[in-house]
Structures are given as structure tokens and as C-alpha cells.
Symmetry: C2
Subunit: 417 residues, 2 copies
Amino acid sequence: MTSAERSGFSRRGLLIGAAGAGGVAVGATASGLFNAVNADEPAPPPTDVVPFFGAQQAGVATPVQDRLVFASFDVVSDRREDLVAMLKEWTSAAAKLTAGDPVGEVAGHPMAPPEDTGEALGLPAANLTLTVGFGPSLFDQRFGLEAKKPAVLHEIPALPADELDLGRSHGDLCVQACADDAQVAFHAIRNLLRIGRGTVVMRWCQLGFGRSSTTTRSQSTPRNLMGFKDGTNNILSESPADMDAFVWVGDETDQQWMRGGTYVVSRRIRILVESWDRDRLEDQEAVIGRQKVGGGPLTGVRERDVVDLAAKNKQGELVVDTNAHIRLAAPASNDGQKILRRGFNFTDGMDPRTGQLDAGLFFICFQKDPAKQFVAIQRRLGATDLLNEYIKHVASAVFACPPGLREGQWWGQDLFS
Amino acid sequence: MTSAERSGFSRRGLLIGAAGAGGVAVGATASGLFNAVNADEPAPPPTDVVPFFGAQQAGVATPVQDRLVFASFDVVSDRREDLVAMLKEWTSAAAKLTAGDPVGEVAGHPMAPPEDTGEALGLPAANLTLTVGFGPSLFDQRFGLEAKKPAVLHEIPALPADELDLGRSHGDLCVQACADDAQVAFHAIRNLLRIGRGTVVMRWCQLGFGRSSTTTRSQSTPRNLMGFKDGTNNILSESPADMDAFVWVGDETDQQWMRGGTYVVSRRIRILVESWDRDRLEDQEAVIGRQKVGGGPLTGVRERDVVDLAAKNKQGELVVDTNAHIRLAAPASNDGQKILRRGFNFTDGMDPRTGQLDAGLFFICFQKDPAKQFVAIQRRLGATDLLNEYIKHVASAVFACPPGLREGQWWGQDLFS
């Protein structure tokens, strides 16, 4: 078999082959896919591809996928040309990866390293999205971007109760990879890292194993590692008014290259699960302000019942504690501000210093002004939230995510031009 | 809403509810599930439950699930009764968890901590298997088990090229949790840890994000993080002769409580992906002895073609290098010995000491005699395998996995009685 023959595979082709062999026979029959698995007929378009090109970057309003690999990079070259060349190559690779294709030939020339590392061959596109962001540190003197720095882009200031690990915080660039298959998300980040060798190094990387939020009404509300539904009152991408008011950067920006973009804040929030798991149900529900199983507010029954923050019990006490999490996080307590949450549950195994599970919530939120939105809300939460007994914010980062691309454009084109 | 009302949920009930709301409508229609989502009719039995009770433990011959959480525990109580009580409680919990049920009430008495941590409510059973094993250290003087130690159970000896981290190696007990949903697997281990508090502490824990092997012909061969198909010539559970000859402990054992059991060896194998990704295709294929894309041996075309280890090229050189991985690992090179591989790809993010990806293969294999099987094979591989330039064995463990249980029995009953 020649190299050319061997490289004539595509991830999708292999997948369809597997379906024909019976792997997903039920679904295939139901949707008519099965008959199409015939060499004479064209394969149907896959239904698990999120378009890469568009007015906004995918991975923000996109229905939250199941798995996350979030990577932060520092630029080690001081040549602007290197960074631009890498971003062009990353964009080309990202378009292929999100379509379910390898970034290049897995088996091309025998004397050259493969252009794609190969571990996603045969796997579906899995709704992969790749979302790029530029950190405040990228706008220092190295690349001549000082004048392009948005006025609202600053490192997140020290917040009450922060215990940050700088090695897991900040960064010049980020790529958020979300997919319904962890290996697909990992493969994407690994190949971007490979392409960027010599220009960037990875600063930190966080895997998330389960979505802990929802951004559309079509998805059920998932549970975080406290066992509570998380994201019931999140901004929904079906609410364009909310998305424009709180998420997508509009005319107010001082930087045209950010119009239609957004700012992402990530926080590694460790949950002290051993303490939480020993807390009694009544207290857990008081801390959150919601019922554990059903998810309704303590003043209601059903999950989406609107909380009555003024309600009192027979003893004249507030039903939702003054420092309950949902009270302090509510828009009513924050000058009406909201954020689009898109976090993931994580565990990195055991913390060898304590013997406890290193697990929690990798909190991700999108907004148009981090200081007015995330920082203001977290300043209140970090100070008095009852949850603080059971959580620790251990890492933090912020990045400017530019708007989406038309075909032929590349990540950062309007920033660097 | 009373606590009793709130606790009247089951994971399956919530799942069916979600299906009825449209979440899995296509699959549901095709299989007739949809009509069954009617309060008047009983819900159909779930199709993603692996039976917990049986002659052998599940999680060995079971078709490999997508995700892994492998946990090792050390016993901190010196009272045999504590250990027995915990194993009974673990067994009861494991039977519930693998059926897709919580281990107890998520919302029971308001003044008590929830009996289940709750984060898997609404998630499917996801083919969860929980497989228990007893490490060599459990058979010291603490629990009076010295006479019950199988003759073949010893810590894996130092092997060529080992660079072991003791903090991630060994342990008194292990539980392997495999499932098609990472949160389901995590939830299981977390609740066992919670139940075991005061009796055991977690020694180490490894997540795997993608299966890197197959144990049945019905599954396609997955790829490891080298981009190669892994497990093509694995023992298949459809071959009872191989399973009896190499995996399940038989009459030869000196310990009746292990008859029908097996021994698991785990090895955390770090892949130096940065070096590997720079290697040229021809060399990658020579190192493994197989074609990267198709997976066939260098002496064949198709994946399952039998390798011809004696074949030579026109220059009279062996086609499969003397030290190629498939030659050294082949039964023909190991007195006919085989092992059942059941490993998972992993990454734990970035290694802060080197800035490189901490990623690789969490190798798991099952066999009836670790010294004759894994140790003998790895001694050869560790010495001269061409792969050694690109991998490091950084952790190791071995555990005796007893046979399966009948309902009413508990993990370790025959060991402790």
C-alpha cells in the first residue's frame, strides 16, 4: 500500500464505515443514514458539525457540549511575524478540526512527521468548537499591540477569598475546545500546540468532564459536583436581547476589532467535596437557596419558578438567607448585571498535599465588560457568599475573544492589521 | 414540597422524562421507547446497564466503555471489622450505582447529609462497571489475611526503564470505574470514597478520557495517543478458550477465593508526545511495526492480517524490526503468553516541570499470573523496545480481583470468611 493510498482516509469516511458495520445501526436506520452507507452514493452531511465561520465565534452561544479542554498559551517568540503566521495556521487547522477532518495528512511523506497526530481518525466531529482569546499580557510592547488593547481588558483584580495559583492562571492566548468526545477536544489542542511549537508554549490546560451549565432551552440543566442543578437562570442564546445587552460587544467598544466579540473569564473553583458531603441537606439547600433534587428556589416548587427574595417564613425570617448563593448572584443584587455561564465539572484526581479530591467547577463566563459583570458579581460573592465555606477560587484568567470569521479570514486578522 | 416528595426521583425516571421532552427523540422513536414514556405504562428496561452480579466481575470481559476513573485506596483503620463493614456497604452501593440508581436518598432527612452526592441524578447508567481488587499490601499482618495471599500476588518487580512515582503506584484496594459517561464514573468513585471515610483514604486516582483498546469483535479498534490503532491482537471476550487460558483464574490457584477471578496490572505510561510528533512517519511505523492509518502490520495490508515476523525486504532485512513493538509484544516472542489489555488514553494537562503535555496511556491488563504474563512481556519490552525512546512507565500497581458475586454476597466475602 502506498502512502497516498494510506492517506486517502477521512475521519468521516471511517465513521460512516463503522456505522455500516452495525455500530450505530438503530440511529442510522431511523435517520436514513444506513442506506447511504453505500460506496456508490455520497455520504450524507454529518449532523454533529458546528459551523466554524460566522458572525460570532462558536463555543459561546453554542449549546454546551459534554467535554472541555481549555488551554492557555504564552508566546515565546518576540517576532510579530511568527505570531501572525501561527494564527493563520491555527485558523486553517481549526476550520478542518471542527469539520471533523485531520489538520493534514496522517500518512503523507514517509520521511516527514505526520501533519496530524492521528488519534481522532475514525472519531466523529462531535460538535467540536474552538474559541480563541487574547489575554491582557499580549498587548504589551512585544508585538506592537499596545494601542489595540481594549479599555475593558485587564487582568482580573484580586478578589475576596482568592487563593490563586499563578501557574494555572492568566496567559497570552487561550483556546477553548469543547466537544461531545473528550479525545476529539484533546486532539484539537494537541495539534494546535504542535503547530505552535517555537512560537508558543502551553501555560496551563484544564480538562472538564461534564458540562455544568446550559445556554439553550433545549438542554436540560446539568448538575455540578455539589449535586445541584447549575445554570437555571443562565442567559440563553435564544434571547438575543440578553446576548446583545450582556455578552456580545457592541458600539460601546473603543476597539473596532472587538465588535461582535466577547470577553471570557475562567476561574478554577475547587469544591471541598469532603466537607460539602458531610453537610446536612437543609444546610446545603440554605447555602444555595434552592432545593437539591428538583432545583426549584426555596420559595417555589419547580426549577424555573422565580425566586421571591423578599419571602419570609412564619417566624418572620427570610426564606432565602441574606447570604445565600442565589441571592448574591441574582441580577437584582448586581445592578441588573448578568453573565453567560458555560462551565464544566472537573477533577484532577487526588490532591497529594491533602489526600482530598482535587475536584470542582471550571467556571467559564462570557460578557461584554468583565469589570462591570464578573468582577462586580464575584466581589460580592467572594465576600459573604455562604458557599465560601465549601469552595476556593484557585486560578483565574481573562481573554478578549474577537468576533467570528468569514472564510479566508484568520484569527486576529483585524487585531494585527 | 416535603422531603419525601423530593426524594421520590430516580436517575432513570429523570432520564426518561428528558427523553420524552425531546432530548433523544430519534433514538427513542426507533426503539419504541417514545411511546413508553407514558405515566400509565411501565418504563422499559434500560439498555445501558451491565449486570453487576455474575460468575465473573464486570469490567474485564465487558466491552470497553469510553471513560475511566481508576482509584487506589489505602486502609487507615486497623480493625478488620471496619474493612468488612465498608466492603459490605461498597457492594450494596456498587449494585445500585451500576443499575443507574443513587446509593441512597439524595434528599432524605433535612438534618442528615444526603446519602448520595447527587451529581449523577438524571444521567443514564452509561454501562457503568465497578471492579474491585485487593493489593499485595492488604495481606500483611493488619487484617489477618497472610494465609489468604495468593502465591502469584506480589508487587510488580522493578522493570527495565521504570521511572516510578510511588505516590501514583500500589495500594491496598482498587476500584476500576468504567462508563460511557465520565461524570457517572466519577460519581461512583466519589461516593465509594465518601462511604469509606475513616476506613480508607484515596492513594491515587487516574482518569482516562478515551478507551485505547477493545475486548470484543463488535467494537472497532480505537487509537492511542500515538495515533495508532491499539489492541488489534488483544484477547477477545468472545474467545472463551483464551479467556480461560490467560485471564480467569482456574484450578491452578492455591486460593479458592480467587477461582474465577483475575489479576489486574495498571501502568501509567507517559507518552513523550512532543518527541513522537516530530518523528517521521516511516520511523513511527517501524517503531510500532504497523501502518499508522490502516493499522495493518508492515508485512500486510489490512488491520487483522497476521504479521509475518520472518518476512524480509529486497535488501534481505527484516520488514518488522528486531525491536519493533509488535515483535517484542507478540505471543510468539513470549512463550505464547497473552494478556487482556483494557487501557485508556489520559492527559493530566501540562507537566509544570517541563512544559510538556502530561499525557499517555493508562495501561490496564488482566491475566491469571502477572509474573508469567505482564512482567515477562514487559521485561522484554522495557529492555529493547524501540518505543522506549518515546514512552516512560511512571506508575505501577497490581491487584487480585476476586470472582463475581451472587446477589446477597459482598466484595471479599470469600476472602474474609
